[in-house]
């Protein structure tokens, strides 16, 4: 990091600064270490124990939880499902929000309203808005009522994995579109307009302009959206918990939801610790792979 240029370098001053700096930031970092770094290490330990009561002490069982994770099969299915359901959410969110970002990059008086309406769903918590979707998706709910009105056969949403995942993705999009679109928009607006003018002068086609100006200009924004998206999607469970509850018959259950239930509902802390360690590591691996791919392209 760049060092701030400092005026006269007197020994006593830099010493005084250092002392003051420690006085201010050490308490904060100690607090953060307490609630951030210790749980991280403690979680690794929990994964090696059997621990189902908060009052008793964890019992060390070695890698039993990890062996269970990889041998019973259920957990691997859940991990895979977390990956693909989260992946679909992320994919659609990235693409659709980019289109919306493009559509918002137009000078118009109506833009403010459009931007607001796209963004508003994201300012309300999942817990506040998911009941709306639950009500609409009831077997006799609003959407089936609408289908009936237009003379179509109704659909029993909760019978089918496809439809439940579909609505999870729709809810995810509805809620996450806004911030991503605004970031895309920020990226689009930060591209120097003279580049396009120069390209026009050179007679570049629309596709060429997108290929050689827009995409390179958005590389950083894209990697931010996808990186934070990977971390978010691999930890998504609140939508599943509220909208599908894992139904139909456990076909939309994901690992993160299982971690939550194992940990806080069933107090199977050891297994929950092992599961979260694995999910955390997988997430970081995905992030690193993505980072490496992007970096390689850049070279």
């Amino acid at each position: 990091m760049t060092k701030t240029a400092k005026a006269p370098k007197i020994m006593t001053k830099s010493k005084r600064e250092a002392r003051r700096a420690y006085c201010i930031i050490l308490p904060f970092f100690i607090y953060i270490a307490l609630w951030g770094l210790i749980p991280l290490v403690y979680g690794l330990y929990l994964g090696l124990t059997e621990y189902n009561g908060l009052a008793s002490s964890p019992k060390f069982v070695g890698f039993k939880n990890y062996v269970d994770f990889f041998t019973t099969g259920d957990y691997l299915t859940l991990l895979w499902r977390q990956f693909w359901i989260g992946g679909i959410c992320l994919l659609f969110n990235t693409v659709v929000s980019f289109i919306v970002g493009l559509a918002l990059n137009v000078n118009s008086k109506a833009r403010g309203f459009f931007r607001t309406s796209v963004y508003v769903p994201s300012i309300a918590a999942v817990s506040i808005t998911s009941a709306i979707f639950v009500a609409l998706l009831e077997v006799n709910g609003g959407i089936n009522g609408f289908l009936k009105q237009i003379g179509q056969p109704t659909i029993t949403w909760n019978y089918s994995q496809f439809w439940m995942v579909f609505w999870v993705v729709v809810y995810f999009l509805w809620r996450s579109l806004g911030p991503a679109a605004i970031i895309w928009l920020g990226g689009l607006q930060s591209i120097d307009p003279t580049l396009y003018e120069a390209a026009d002068v050179d007679g570049a086609s629309f596709a060429q302009k997108v290929r050689y100006i827009t995409i390179p200009g958005l590389k950083f924004v894209a990697s931010y959206i996808i990186l934070t998206g990977i971390v978010g999607a691999m930890q998504m469970f609140d939508i599943i918990m509220f909208i599908t509850k894992g139904n139909p018959y456990g076909k939309t259950d994901v690992l993160m939801y299982r971690i939550y239930r194992d940990g806080v509902v069933n107090f199977n802390m050891g297994m929950a610790g092992a599961e979260s360690t694995i999910l955390g590591i997988v997430t970081i691996i995905f992030a690193i792979i993505y980072f490496k791919v992007v970096l390689r392209k850049e070279d």
């Binding site: 009052a55 269970d68 509850k245």
Partner: protein, 441 residues
């Protein structure tokens, strides 16, 4: 100068933290965890705090309806406790119900500093099995019928239900008549049940249906399926082991699957039960409903021409399951056991328990059960109380480990899957057994 600013800043921060904490903890929090010497008794009373009673009263007033038995009972209970034990400082709290309540109670139970009174329905036997509940004093246990008690592994009664019901078959006489059936002879056997229901569904031709056995993907499904298992002398779990590979279990599941065809698609295994009950009582498009005694209120409110009968049986063998119970028990780790038992004593007083009768909910008090004059004019209560007197029932089966997870598998991956898909039942059962055995290990 510098110091003064610092002091002001620190004072400000402290003031803020004090107000912030004060704001959160006023009104009595209940986290004193027992270490304090105050006689504050913390009780999760199933969605009826003083605030919520106020809300219920207000809603009733606005809608011009009477206060429900549940609210009336809790108001009376609070008044009675205050009157008889004025020195108790009872903190009535709202911890939700069903899974949410279990989760929160368990957090405090496993932490070793539980509430002074725990409550619940399907998960109370699990608490009892784990030996975390204090045996009830004899005078409490002898007040009620044995069905209303939960016993621990040593055979001591540890929890008592303040109200309960058994499952019954409610039927719509109009729909039976429309299908050419005699509205006064409800089905008594499985075969009759299926025949009649099929006939009604056929006659309804997409307008109305016969109705079957609900298989909701949560405790609501397991509770309604259990009586039919028990009629064959089997259950989901036997001696703490999963029993899905039993041929009788699979026979019952086949019956549930066959009966489900008499529901409109998606109604019998929906996560929310309300659409089914609405179809039965409000739209009146379903002829048979398996439900607890509270169904009567819904039928009467909607001016339905209804009847009630005991559940159809396979070979005349009885089998049922308690439902709609509100079990309470006192944890061994409670610091105010005697006070908590006193509150249970108040909750079981006859004048309070009679409130349940107004909503056709059975009281477990022997003094009420043995006095048919109190309920003989009510067909639902008569049916339910006859059943209660004739046998001993319990709630759903209990598993020694990971009980909640095991039931989740049963509810979602056995019951709901049986009716949602056409997958072979033995395959459903063997897959679920495998998963459950891993949980029980």
């Amino acid at each position: 100068m510098k110091k003064r600013l610092l002091a002001v800043l620190l004072a400000g921060m402290m003031a803020l933290s004090v107000t912030a904490c004060g704001g959160g903890s006023d009104g009595g929090s209940g986290n004193d965890g027992g270490s304090s010497s105050s006689a504050k008794i913390v009780i999760p009373f199933i969605g009826y705090t003083e605030d919520q009673i106020k809300a219920a009263e207000q809603t009733a007033e606005e809608n011009g309806t009477e206060l429900g038995a549940e609210a009336q009972y809790h108001i009376k209970l609070m008044e009675a406790v205050e009157e008889q034990y004025p020195d108790y400082d009872v903190d009535w709290q709202d911890w939700g119900w069903a899974e949410a309540l279990d989760q929160k109670q368990r957090a405090t139970l496993t932490a070793g500093s539980p509430l002074d009174l725990v409550a619940g329905e399907t998960f109370m036997p699990t608490y009892a099995n784990e030996g975390i509940l204090e045996p009830l004093p004899d005078d409490i246990a002898s007040l009620v019928t044995p069905s209303y008690l939960i016993y621990d592994t040593e055979g001591n009664p540890v929890a008592v239900s303040l109200k309960s019901s058994v499952f019954m078959l409610f039927y719509n006489k109009d729909l039976m008549e429309k299908a050419g059936l005699d509205p006064e002879t409800p089905p008594t056997t499985w075969d009759e049940f299926k025949e009649m229901s099929d006939q009604i569904t056929e006659a309804g031709n997409g307008e109305f249906w016969g109705g079957g056995i609900p298989s909701f993907p949560h405790a609501g499904g397991a509770l309604r399926a259990t009586p039919f298992f028990r009629q064959l002398g089997t259950d989901f779990g036997v001696d703490g082991k999963i029993n899905l590979n039993d041929s009788k279990v699979q026979e019952t599941l086949q019956f549930i699957r066959d009966m489900n065809k008499n529901f409109p698609e998606g109604l019998g295994n929906n996560a929310s039960e309300d659409p089914l009950w609405n179809a039965f009582q409000k739209d009146q498009t379903i002829a048979f409903a398996i439900n607890g005694a509270w169904q009567q209120t819904g039928c009467d409110q909607n001016n339905m021409n209804w009847g009630v009968a005991p559940l159809p049986t396979k070979d005349g063998t009885e089998g049922n399951c308690l439902v709609g119970s509100n079990f309470v028990g006192v944890p061994k780790a409670s610091k105010h056991k005697e006070e908590a038992f006193n509150i249970i004593r108040v909750a079981l007083q006859e004048d309070l328990q009679k409130i349940w009768l107004t909503e056709s909910t059975s009281s477990g008090l022997n003094s009420i059960l043995d006095n048919p004059d109190l309920y003989s004019d009510n067909p639902t209560l008569t049916t339910a109380n006859e059943a209660l007197k004739s046998g001993t029932f319990s709630g759903v089966a209990v598993f020694p480990k990971n009980d909640a997870q095991v039931w989740e598998v049963i509810n979602q991956k056995v019951l709901a899957r049986t009716t949602m898909t056409e997958d072979p039942i033995d395959e459903i059962c063997s897959q679920a057994t495998q998963e459950i055995e891993a949980l029980l290990k």
